[in-house]
Structures are given as C-alpha cells and as structure tokens.
C-alpha cells in the first residue's frame, strides 16, 4: 500500500518529474538519443553549409574559368574532369552549392515571410480577411506549382530574380495553409482567450501567445518546404528555365553533361560525372528529410507526455 499524506499540501503534490535544464543541455540530450539517420542528416547539412560558405577557398579553379579541353577525363588537375566547354566540374560543383542552396534558402525564407505573415493575419482577424485570403490560396493551389511556375517564367523570362519571386509566391500558398491551420489550433486555446479578456493587443497576442506555440511545426515545415523549393528550382534549372549560365548550378550541370552517360560502358567515370550534381541535390534533401523526420518525432513525442 502507498503511504498517504494525512495532511494535504498543494506544493507536495506530485508534478511531472522536473530537472531544470537549459535549452543547450536539452538539445544535447535529445541529440545523444537521436537515431543514426538524424545524425547522418545533421552531418550532411553542416558539410554543405561549410562548402557553400567557403566555396572560393575550397574550389581549385574559378566558377566560369574555361580550360582548353572540353569533356576532359578525371585527372589530378581536374579531379572530376571538365564540362562541355571546358570548365572544371569540381569547382562548379563547389560554387553550385553556394548558388543553388543560397537561392533555395532565399526563396523559402521569402515564402515563409509572405505565407506565414498572411496566415497569422488571417488566423487572428478571421472573418472576411480570412475568407478572401483562403479562397485566393485555394485557387492558386488548384494549379500544380511547377506548371504555374513554367507559365509565369514564359511571361517574365528566366532570371534569378523572377525565379525567386515566382517560386516564393507559389510556395507561400502551402506555407499559408499550414501556418493558418496550426495558428487556428492555437487561437482557439483558452490561454489566447484569456489574453484577449485581459485586453492585450493583437500584436502582443501574436508575438507572445501564438508564435512560440507554432514554432515547432513551422520549423519542421521549413525543412520540408526547403526541400520542395530546392527540388523545384533544380528541376527548372534542369529544364533550362531556372538559374542561367554562366552561374554554376547543379540542375543545369546535369542537363549540360547528360550526354556523357551514354559513354558509361567505355568510361564509368565519365558516365557518372553528370550524376554527381544530381547526387549532390539528392544527398542534401535526404539529409534534411531525415532531420525533419526526427524533429517531428521529437516534438510530437513531447506532446504525448503532457
């Protein structure tokens, strides 16, 4: 039998087991328990970030430097050979990290700024604002985004700026949907009602009551959206409608060197050269997906506890 306290005391009532830890320690503890896939993803992401940041230091040659021999085989000077007009492939791969990831990241951030901002406005204001914004998003989402992007690019022409703006606007519809959904879940909470009853202003409620509670799903969504944007831009570049030469970019590199594949029978190295930038894209998205998967498991696991 359990001992029952004869006198009741609120402070002695058993709460959740409590050890006060800083966010740093908590993150480290979570990391220690993380599965191999998450570790793999984190290492990949860090490696890509380093390559992107230090591209000029790491690349043996210039981004658009043209050498005499096109389609050169793998040698000491050109570890991965040269491309169709004689540019060093390794160097272009390294610069490509910077360009492709940079553009995808900018686009995703812009999409979150537009979609997330409007979603919060819709969730708090509700009524007409919400109706109009939601219907508009419904219509925009009724067209597959790659098709929509192709159409817009045909009108505005393919440039980095129009690429970023078009993809960001199209992707912001997805961000809007999810942000609005999670924000709506929070808006109906009694603590938000309590804040409204207290007389708090909209801005305060948005910043202090809603944002902290929708951050975990939004962070996960950011990862997924980044992958999606990254793949869309890669696909457009591959189709020749994205990032334009001479800027080094993984999608267009695949397209430019694709014909090498048919020589794989004779020289395997040449055969896999066009696949390297594609593999670089795949590796990063796989890495991000693994980390997001783990993150989602972590945050949803936390919810079960309470």
């Amino acid at each position: 039998m359990t001992d029952t306290p004869e006198t009741y005391s609120a402070a002695a009532e058993i709460g959740a087991p409590r050890t006060r830890r800083g966010p740093g320690t908590r993150a480290w503890l979570a990391l220690k328990k993380a599965p191999v896939s998450a570790w793999f993803g984190l290492v990949v992401i860090c490696a890509y970030a380093l390559v992107a940041i230090f591209a000029p230091l790491l690349a043996p040659h210039g981004e658009a430097q043209v050498f005499a021999q096109p389609y050169a085989p793998w040698t000491a000077n050109h570890p991965l050979g040269t491309d169709q007009i004689g540019r060093d492939i390794l160097s272009r791969l390294i610069y490509g990290a910077r360009n492709t990831i940079g553009i995808a990241l900018t686009t995703t951030l812009l999409a979150f700024l537009i979609g997330g901002g409007l979603a919060l406005v819709a969730a708090i204001a509700r009524g007409w604002t919400d109706q109009i914004l939601s219907r508009l998003v419904d219509v925009l989402m009724a067209i597959p985004s790659l098709i929509f992007a192709l159409m817009l690019l045909s009108i505005f022409g393919a440039s980095v700026l129009s690429l970023i703006v078009i993809i960001a606007v199209l992707d912001s519809t997805r961000v809007f949907r999810i942000t609005r959904a999670v924000a709506m879940n929070v808006v109906v909470m009694e603590y938000v009602e309590a804040a409204r009853l207290r007389g708090e202003g909209t801005w305060w409620i948005m910043r202090r009551e809603i944002l902290p509670n929708i951050m975990p799903p939004l962070v996960a969504e950011f990862g997924l959206r980044f992958c999606f944007v990254f793949l869309t831009i890669a696909a457009l570049s591959f189709l020749g409608l994205g990032i334009q030469p001479p800027t080094a970019d993984w999608g267009s590199m695949v397209r430019e060197n694709a014909s090498l594949i048919q020589f794989a029978q004779y020289d395997l190295k040449a055969g896999i050269t066009p696949l390297l930038p594609a593999a670089a894209i795949a590796l990063l998205t796989v890495g991000v997906n693994f980390v997001v998967d783990w993150f989602l498991m972590q945050t949803s696991g936390l919810k079960d506890e309470h």
Partner: protein, 539 residues
C-alpha cells in the same frame, strides 16, 4: 450458482506501459477474485490503472502496454499462456467489453444491429436471425425506444445515452459470463445517467452476468457493485463489500474519495450587488442560446450556475466577459452598465472581472513560465515592473499555498492541482472584484478538488471576492455556493438561496436534476426507479 470456484482470478498482475523509451509499471501486482453473477466495482482516480486492469481480465493489453507478470485465470483457462486464437474464442463470447465512449466505439459504417449480433454470429453461437431476435429482446430490456427498429439505425443517428445502452446490449448478445464496464456513464449528463445505470443493472441482474464495473465515482459504483476494490497508483488500497466500504472505509485514501461532500457552508446573501444581469438574451448567429436571463451577484458571495450540457451556463459567462455581446438586455457592474462588447470596455473594467477555466492545461500558455503567467496581469493592469512584479508574484504564490521555487517552472512541469492554483493566482493578480469559475474543479481528482474549493473559500473570506461558479456537479454546489441559479435550455428555472433551492418543493426540472444525482448509499437507484415508476403511473 456455483460460488466455490471463482469465474475470474487474478494474482499479482503486473502491467507495464512504454513511455520515454522505457517500460514503466502501470499496474503493480494486483489480486482480484470474481465469482459468477457477482459485480465488482473497481474505483480509483485518473492514472490508477483501473482500465488497464479491466482489459487485462480479457487477456488484452493496449498497444504500448504489456502484461509483464502474474496470473490471470478465467474459468480455469490461463489467459497468460493461452494462444491468441484461444483468447479470440473467449472475447466477445464469454467476456465482453463496454467502452467509455460509445460514440467512438461503434463503427460508423455499420448499423447497430449488424454490430450487436456480430460476436455471437461470427463465433457460431447463433444464426443471424436468432441473434437479431435476441438483440431486439435485449434492446427492449435496455429500455431503448422502438426496440424492433432501432437496430437498423447507424450510430450517429441515435443519442449518446441510447448508444451506451445499445453497447451494453451488444456486450450481452453472446450471453457472456463476464462483462467489463469501463466508465460507461462518465460522458453522460446526470439525468441521462440514471436511466442508463438502471437499464444496465436490470440487465445484468436478469441474466445473472458477472461484471467488473470501472469508474471514478463512488456513488455510481455503490449502486452497481456487490464489492468495491479501491485502486491507487496501480496498487490495491482496500477491498470490501459495498455496504462496509461506504459505512466504514478503513483507509484514509478511501475517505478522501468523498472529500468534497464533506465541505459544507451556510448560504448567505447580501444587499450590495456587485454584478447584475438584466433580461439577457443571446444567440450564436441565428441560434438562440439564452432567453431573458436575469441574476445578481452579492458582493463577497458565491452564485452557482447549475445545469447540464447545453443549458447555457458557459454562454452566460461569455456574455458577462464581453466575448459574446447579448442581443438584448444589459450587464451592470456596481450599478453602472458595462459596454456589451470586450472592445468597448476599459482596462479597469476588464481588470475587475476575471475568469478561471475548467482545463488549466489549455488555459495557460505551455511556453510561458509561472512567473510570466502570473506576472503579466500585475504588469499589464497595475503598471508594475521588474522587482516589484517578482515580489508580487511571490506574494501571490504564497496566497495559493505554493512557494517561490515554482516561479520558473513551465505548466508542463506542474501537477493538475498546481496548474489550477496558478490559474487562480493569475486571476488574483488583477486584484478583481468578481471571478467567474467555469467548471474549475471538474477535471480534478476528489482530494485535489477539495483543496481547490477550500482555497477559493479562504480567498473569498480574506479578500472579499465574489464568485460566479459554473458547474454541473451538485456536490460542489452544496459545498461552496451561497446562491444557486438552475438553468435549463438557455433559461433560468429557479434561483435563490442555496438552502431554499435544495429544500422541496422544487419545480419539475430542479426535482429531476437533484433526484438524478446518485447518493452515496446502496439502494438509492432502486428507490429512484420506484419513485419514477410512481410518478409515471400517478401522473
């Protein structure tokens, strides 16, 4: 009936649950014996492991749980060693289960009858036609309306109380030896509960079925069970025949199960009305929810709003706080009319009426610390900052009987009772005149409820607070109210001093409501049914 060999024997049963990457015990070695035709009440508060134990009697563990030790013998069959096929042959046939939420436990894609006859037909006990006939008999025995045709309806086409009865009929259809009732009436309103309880008891008596009745409500189990076993933290506290348990509980924990019923205070009123509602009519869109509500709250007193779900008690609170401006009527505070909508009210007007919610879990931002939660109103309404806020928070924590060590905790790190206390402190921080308490104790265990109610009464005495106490629980009303307002379908049925309301004669609805609350004595249900029959035949 053979009472020598027990129908069900459990010895030292241990069940683990998987949480946080490891197995933790939920049930820690419980013994249980049940004879044919007997009803055992299994009582305990949330987390006591009673449902888990009930399912273990069927040799079943929910996903994420495992039966890790002990012995379970059902009529000589060892359920710990039985194969899955052997257990399947028992389930639904010799042991049946009645779940808490009938609405969720019935498959929406099939009719009631199809689901009722499924177990006996699939196990080859009866033909479909025989089973259907028998099901109709059972529907009639369960006092379901139109027993011959109700089976053709789909679950979403009948009410909650009827579904719960249909589920009992479903459990009985294969003529089982044992039925596990898992909180079958918890989700029902009190006036519906009586009839469901009566029908269930009539049926088990008639067919001589043994049962395990799981609940957290001692008064309910007193009507149903021959013996009562009290569980706490997965261990047995005590077991005794029902009458003995009610008359002379041995363990202090058992006594605490009716702690709230022990609180009493005389109802008083006062001439100084701090808040008045005059002829309030309100609607959600075009659906009317309140009709001509008038009530007054005396300063320093407690007015209890009582009624079942849908009676409009919470809507009344929304009108007072300004969340739902009324269609007609006005709210007066200290004699002066309050602007109907929240936006129109001044910060000071907002400060003086505060609100405490039923679920402290959703009423506090999970990402704010206790200091932020309690400190914000201090800062917002009283314009204090820095060390002044901290000092005030410390003072408020002291008032709710907690200490400074709670200041930097997050809500997730508090127990249920502590959370509700923090919510009380947040309301107090505004230094209000009136606090609206919306079902503040109904999600809590009895002993914690008692603590919270006593705290609220103490605060009322020392600070002169006025409470509007919204609840469906008559015991809570008896404990702390001064005046009572009985509501039904958006209208006030009766209002007045507590003693006046609780003393006969009553208007019909009040009578029904009061007489439906199970009393902590055996035989109450029989009396109640007999009284109902008299009224029916007499009227």
């Amino acid at each position: 009936m053979n009472t020598d060999t027990p129908l069900l024997t459990m010895r030292g049963v241990r069940i683990d649950g998987f949480a946080d990457e490891r197995w933790t015990p939920i049930v820690k070695g419980v013994d249980l014996t049940l004879h044919r035709g007997q009803v055992l009440g299994l009582i305990g508060e949330s987390g006591a492991g009673k449902s888990t134990l009930g399912l273990a009697a069927m040799g079943f563990a929910r996903p994420g749980c495992r039966i890790s030790g002990g012995e379970i013998l059902f009529d000589g069959i060892d359920l710990m060693r039985a194969s899955e096929a052997e257990k399947q042959a028992l389930r639904g046939v010799r042991i049946a289960y009645v779940a808490q939420s009938a609405a969720a436990a019935f498959n929406p894609a099939h009719t009631l009858l199809e689901q009722t006859i499924e177990a006996p037909v699939r196990h080859g006990l009866m033909s479909a036609a025989e089973a259907a006939d028998y099901a109709r008999t059972l529907y009639a025995a369960m006092d379901l309306p139109d027993p011959d045709t109700i089976g053709d309806r789909y679950p979403h086409q009948v009410s909650g109380g009827q579904l719960q009865r249909a589920m009992t009929a479903m459990a009985m259809c294969a003529k089982p030896d044992l039925i596990i009732f898992d909180e079958p009436t918890t989700a029902l309103d009190v006036t519906t509960q009586v009839n469901v309880l009566a029908a269930m008891r009539k049926a088990i008596r008639e067919f001589g079925t043994a049962a395990i009745y799981i609940t957290h409500d001692l008064a309910v189990v007193a009507q149903m069970a021959d013996r009562i076993k009290v569980l706490r933290y997965g261990e047995e506290v005590e077991e005794a025949p029902t009458e003995t348990m009610l008359a002379a509980p041995k363990h202090p924990y058992t006594k605490s199960l009716w702690a709230v019923r022990a609180i009493r205070k005389p109802g008083e009123t006062g001439p100084d009305k701090v808040l008045e509602l005059n002829g309030i009519t309100a609607a959600y869109g075009t659906i009317p929810v309140l009709r001509d509500i008038s009530l007054a709250v005396p300063r320093g007193k407690t007015v209890a709003l009582v009624g079942e779900s849908g009676s409009g008690k919470s809507t009344t609170a929304r009108v007072i706080t300004g969340l739902l401006p009324p269609v007609a009527g006005e709210v007066r505070f200290e004699g002066a009319p309050l602007p109907p909508a929240l936006r129109g009210r001044s910060r000071d007007q907002l400060r003086r009426i505060q609100m405490i919610y039923q679920s402290a879990d959703t009423a506090m931002n999970p990402r704010h610390t206790v200091h932020e939660i309690i400190g914000r109103p201090v800062q917002f309404y009283l314009g204090k900052s820095g060390a002044e806020v901290t000092a005030r928070v410390s003072q408020l924590l002291d008032m709710i009987e907690l200490d400074d060590s709670f200041m930097d905790r997050l809500p997730g790190e508090l127990s249920g009772g502590q959370k509700q206390r923090i919510c009380i402190a947040r309301a107090l921080a505004a230094e209000p005149d009136v606090i609206i308490c919306d079902e503040v104790t109904s999600a809590l265990d009895q002993i914690v409820q008692e603590g919270i109610l006593k705290l609220l009464m103490k605060l009322q005495r020392t600070l002169g607070l006025s409470y509007i106490f919204i609840t469906h629980d008559i015991d809570t009303v008896r404990a702390i109210a001064d005046e009572v307002v009985v509501m039904f379908q958006g209208e006030v049925v009766e209002q007045g001093l507590k003693e006046q309301i609780f003393a006969p004669p009553h208007p019909a609805y009040t009578e029904l409501l009061l007489s439906s609350v199970p009393k902590m004595e055996t035989g109450w249900l029989e009396d109640r049914i007999a009284a109902q029959a008299r009224t029916a035949s007499g009227g």
